[in-house]
Symmetry: C2
Subunit: 182 residues, 2 copies
């Protein structure tokens, strides 16, 4: 999986933030010419398709500053340094929704923006949910509202673009294709 490899000649580190960092790499192309690549580094994330016993999907609504609007999304969160995605999935599900799952399995993983970022989302599915007694506190700059939606409601939210991100679009289509929701 190194076809058309672009070898790094030089890396220029631009920014190192709390969530992402940015670098510009000068690369040599397969034809020997050089070019520049703008690369965002991200720790990776998990997202969880969580299905309640009533056959509804658990969603969270939150403000997304890059888009200057709120979105309804499946629960998700960044990996902490050295953390296994399964551990992150357990933690984020509990922090964002107050649910814990008896069964939590990986569905797939995908890169979200391979043209400019290395972010990979590991997608899990959670079954047999129960409410935790003492909910973990989330980040103190995160404000989220919980929703539980049927398949019809999820698809209407997509029509209205209240659901409007790739991982949640995938999750709703996955739930439809596999008959997971009422």
């Amino acid at each position: 999986m190194k076809k058309f490899e672009e070898k790094t000649i030089h890396t220029n580190h631009i920014f190192n933030g709390k969530m992402i960092s940015l670098q510009v790499d000068e690369v040599s192309l397969p034809d020997g010419k050089t070019s520049k690549r703008e690369l965002v580094k991200h720790p990776g994330a998990v997202a969880v398709i969580a299905i309640t016993d009533e056959g509804k999907m658990v969603m969270v609504e939150q403000y997304r500053k890059p888009l200057e609007r709120s979105l309804v999304e499946i629960p998700a969160g960044k990996l902490e340094p050295g953390e296994q995605p399964h551990t992150t999935a357990v933690r984020e599900l509990e922090e964002e929704t107050g649910y814990t799952a008896k069964r939590l399995e990986r569905v797939t993983s995908f890169a979200t923006s391979p043209g400019f970022a290395d972010e990979v989302i590991h997608l899990y599915i959670a079954h047999q949910l129960s409410v935790v007694e003492e909910k973990l506190a989330g980040d103190d700059d995160e404000f989220v509202e919980l929703l539980e939606v049927t398949l019809d409601e999820a698809e209407r939210m997509q029509q209205e673009e209240r659901i409007w991100d790739a991982k949640t679009a995938y999750a709703v289509l996955f739930a439809r294709a596999n008959g997971l929701l009422k």
Copy 2:
């Protein structure tokens, strides 16, 4: 869709590149506290589910520097300034694959990484493909190889993680759910 709105107090422009720019916004949170948001600006992109008359999906393999590997993806490309997504879809399909489509319809749109970027991908579906006589030249730093795959082949490539990005994962699931491929 302004629930939990985070108002911008100050914007710090960090980087302005050829594909993306980066800024850090100081914001006021719903509880009156302040926080910082790292925001990548991207012009947006299109991607095309292109189905041949033989019922195969057209894919391109290319090196993705952020991930340091090549990926098999559906054809895609960035919007030029002021360009309508439909126009970009026609152009990118032709540049990357040498095909033109008699029918090209929008399927959906989604934000790829709403936590740190404003990139939105507009997903199209192309039917009734024909080979163009004189293919448009692509960017001179793009090296891509064309593939045409059945549903089984696409799903095997997902197992092997040769297909490993969100838009293509969505496209393969969409094709399966709608019986588009042989």
